[in-house]
């Protein structure tokens, strides 16, 4: 299919948007055709989300022109965008959890019987029709909170389509989905294409782009740096466009010989979630922890870190049996935990970079309960320099940093506590390519210095690329263990799925 020949549904010319101190978008052009999946690619801060907001009416542009079907329009508000046939599905879904799928789809547009009474039957019928058309098996009468993330996403898609969306923007739609669900999402996107919907697809996962995209536009620093047909480009070229240089190596793994055992877990139990978990972790070793969503990886990390109760089993740190009953005791034993969700678990967003960097070690920077502010400031400044955290200063609030820099702050927290055993839970989720490599390099440095790393990841290439040893979890148990040398994606998946 070559949609370029047709007239574009939506076309942008010279879009410019300036925020105080930053040119977020600088003369961006983009054409969207019916029935194409147009991938928007760029590092964090490249302007993807600003562009998306311009299209969806969330912000107004400073200069440039938007045309729909060749007609120039001014998109005044999200509601206006909706009426023009533009739908958007944010990473954080916008559904009311206690309402049913159907009620969500027709929220604010409920078919009425008059006098404000909702025609419940008509609503369910119409909603079910939308869902069936999408080819998804969801009952319109199910409460949204009982649906999986992937299903909720489908409800959002159905909602957008019920509004007769012709342009559908999807922001990082796969970030919380399992492989299986991603496959289903792609199938749905295929059906949308067939219906003539133009899909704008934003993702950090390059592999996906090649699976789902037709064309790709790369943004860098608010500028349009190129549009390519997916069939005619390569990953290397896209990376070069994104970062302005070719990344020499995607996974810059440095192998260091492993040392003595630092952590040993024996027959760990947590009722209903973790069963008979035994493994060990050695100095200068990265152990990858693979598995499907819900296989118990994060639960294991939380149990090890004292965040959740343990019902049985023993934990040895540096050869001595230890009781870890709170995060505090884990931290005191030299553990550090980079949580899966930085914003909700790893950082206090409203606090400053410095305050976050020192939060777990406040005890060390205080005497008799009083803060020693100079020591604290020095330590923070050192971390900022060491980790190359891009921030206007130590007092900047963490919420204003990019994802990669936020992740560095989380890592910095544990460097400040002088942790030796690191648990990384999805360390590069939602982080752009350049920052990813930086995180990998930091991991290398840690390992070279003698740290031990347990790395949970849902990205197989990352597991394979960065681990010395790989553990695979399934249904709360360790279902397989591989050396990096003999591990293959097939073997890991087989263990994760239980097909041996």
């Amino acid at each position: 299919m070559t949609p370029t020949a047709a007239k574009p549904v939506l076309s942008l010319r010279g879009i410019r948007k300036v925020f105080p101190g930053v040119v977020a978008l600088d003369g961006v052009d983009l054409d969207l055709h019916a029935g194409e999946v147009h991938v928007l690619l760029g590092e964090n801060g490249a302007g993807k989300s600003t562009l998306m907001k311009v299209i969806s009416g969330a912000i107004t542009l400073d200069a440039g022109e938007i045309r729909i079907d060749g007609q120039p329009v001014r998109i005044a508000s999200p509601r206006h965008a909706q009426s023009l046939g533009i739908g958007i599905i944010y990473q954080e879904l916008n559904l009311v959890p206690h309402l049913t799928a159907g009620e969500n789809i027709f929220l604010g547009r409920e078919p009425g019987l008059g006098a404000g009474v909702i025609d419940q039957r008509a609503l369910v019928r119409a909603a079910q029709q939308q869902l069936d058309d999408l080819g998804v098996a969801i009952d319109a009468r199910t409460t949204v909170e009982r649906l999986s993330v992937a299903q909720q996403q489908m409800v959002e898609v159905a909602k957008a389509l019920s509004l007769e969306a012709r342009v559908l923007i999807m922001d990082e739609p796969t970030s919380a989905l399992t492989q299986q669900e991603i496959a289903e999402l792609f199938a749905t996107i295929g059906r949308l294409k067939a219906r003539g919907v133009a899909v704008v697809y934003i993702s950090h996962r390059m592999e996906e782009l090649f699976a789902v995209g037709d064309r790709v536009t790369v943004l860098r620093d608010g500028r349009h740096v190129g549009t390519r047909m997916i069939r005619e480009t390569t990953m290397d070229e896209l990376v070069r466009l994104m970062v302005g240089r070719a990344l020499s190596e995607k996974f810059p793994k440095q192998r260091v010989p492993a040392g003595a055992e630092v952590l040993r877990v024996e027959r760990l139990e947590r009722h209903g979630l973790l069963h008979d978990i035994s493994f060990s972790l050695r100095r200068s070793e990265v152990v990858g922890l693979a598995g499907l969503m819900g296989s118990g990886r994060t639960e294991l990390a939380r149990a090890l870190f004292g965040a959740d109760r343990i019902d049985g089993g023993r934990i040895f740190v540096h050869g001595r049996e230890r009781r870890i009953d709170s995060p505090r005791s884990a931290i005191d034993l030299g553990l550090g935990f980079l949580t899966e969700d930085r914003k909700s678990q790893g950082l206090v967003l409203v606090q400053s970079v410095q305050e976050n960097l020192t939060l777990p070690s406040v005890g060390r920077f205080s005497r008799l309960g009083f803060m020693r502010r100079r020591d604290e400031a020095q330590a923070a400044a050192k971390r900022i320099a060491e980790l190359r955290i891009k921030t206007p200063g130590p007092h900047q609030r963490v919420m204003h940093l990019s994802g990669g820099n936020q992740q560095k702050v989380v890592l910095g927290k544990w460097l400040t506590t002088e942790a030796e055993i690191f648990i990384f839970d999805e360390p590069t989720r939602g982080i752009d390519v350049g920052a990813k490599v930086e995180i990998y390099q930091l991991m290398n440095q840690l390992v070279a210095r003698g740290a031990a790393v347990l790395m949970i990841s849902s990205e197989l290439p990352e597991i394979l690329g960065m681990s010395d040893r790989i553990l695979v979890m399934r249904a709360g148990r360790i279902a397989g263990e591989f050396n990096a040398a003999d591990a293959t994606p097939e073997k890991i998946l087989a263990a994760a799925l239980g097909r041996n």
């Binding site: 540096h318 030299g334 777990p360």
Partner: protein, 357 residues
């Protein structure tokens, strides 16, 4: 610890020395980063300004209000009237400090007004029975602290939402105060106790000194101590705080204890001022304290705020009431104005934040 040798050696060298730049090839994690690419470290002054900007705004509001009153009435800007306003503000201001801590920690305390009554009648009853003043004061303060800790435990151990726990305590403490006194005011104390209301040190009335001391200490605790740091972290993100090893429940409990303690301190001032403790005292005081806190820029979402802002907020309310009295504005219009000030102060705050986004 039987940590491997080089890590231990590393530990030594990793102790922070002079801050800032890390020399190349040192123990720096990423050697390529050694040139220190922190983009333009903000000068201290700017950070300070940014930090206190909101308070400056509120302070300007207070000053503006005072200027207007100075123009409109000759009675406003006199030493005795200003001392008068400060004294009138002291009770609400002291309660509001505790509430500021609670709100920064992400909670709410509706029981403060009732605790003022309860701690007040306990204190007054002891005084009336001839218990020495220091012991009676201590007992009153401990009563407040104890009730606050109960609030805290209901919230942390009982997992009740703060709104519910303190709403319950609001009624329990009120009932307790009424029961304790059979509904009647308690009075008849020795002259020593009244010094708290009538005494002066270097011409400054004692209630003002108490207020200033409480604020100085609260500011210090919030900004310069581990406790304060944890309160902010808990309010900003309790989950992240917990996973960073912060003893969340303990600190939450203590925050409510502090709020109860300060309510009792306000009860002390109020009882001395009226020379009597009423079981029906302090009704709606929680609302005044919340108003002062909010006008002072503390976010009801938690994680942000300052006691100095709260002090200014309390003074704005005090000055406004005083000024409206001096101008002989009807009590009905006064209520309306104070409500409007709360709404507009927060609206302006929010509007400015929106613009930034």
């Amino acid at each position: 610890m039987d940590a491997p040798p080089d890590l231990q050696a590393n530990r030594g060298s990793r102790r922070e020395k002079a801050g800032g730049e890390v020399p190349p090839g040192s123990s720096s994690l990423v050697t390529s980063a050694a040139s220190g690419t922190t983009r333009g470290g903000a000068p201290r002054g700017t950070a300070f300004l940014a930090h206190y900007a909101r308070q400056f705004g509120t302070l300007a509001g207070l000053v503006g209000l005072s200027v207007v009153l100075w123009i409109l009435t000759p009675h406003f800007l006199t030493v005795s009237n200003l001392l008068n306003v400060a004294q009138q503000t002291s009770i609400n201001a002291v309660i509001a400090v505790g509430l500021t801590f609670v709100i920064i920690s992400g909670g709410i305390d509706l029981s403060v007004g009732s605790l003022v009554a309860f701690a007040g009648v306990v204190l007054a009853t002891l005084l009336q029975r001839g218990v020495p003043v220091p012991i009676a004061l201590l007992a009153g303060l401990l009563t407040g602290f104890g009730c606050g800790v109960v609030n805290g435990l209901l919230i942390t151990m009982g997992r009740l939402p703060p709104f519910i726990a303190t709403l319950g305590m609001m009624s329990v403490a009120r009932g307790g105060a009424l029961l304790f006194t059979d509904g009647r005011p308690v009075s008849g104390f020795g002259p020593g106790f009244r010094w708290l209301a009538t005494g002066e040190v270097l011409f400054v009335p004692v209630p003002i000194l108490v207020m200033v001391a409480v604020y100085a200490m609260a500011h210090f605790v919030l900004r310069r101590t581990r406790f304060g740091r944890y309160v902010f972290a808990i309010g900003g993100n309790p989950e992240a705080a917990l996973l960073s090893g912060v003893p969340v429940r303990f600190h939450q409990t203590m925050v409510y204890g502090l709020s109860g303690f300060l309510s009792a301190m306000a009860a002390m001032l109020l009882t001395a001022r009226l020379n009597s403790a009423q079981p029906i005292a302090g009704i709606n005081y929680e609302l005044d304290a919340i108003a002062a806190t909010v006008i002072g820029g503390t976010s009801l979402m938690g994680g942000q705020g300052s006691v100095m802002g709260t002090l200014i907020g309390a003074l704005i309310m005090g000055v406004l009431r005083n000024g409206l009295n001096l101008l002989n504005v009807s009590s009905f219009i006064q209520q309306l104005v104070i409500g409007a000030v709360i709404i507009v102060a927060v609206l302006i705050d929010m509007a400015l934040k929106q613009r930034r986004r």
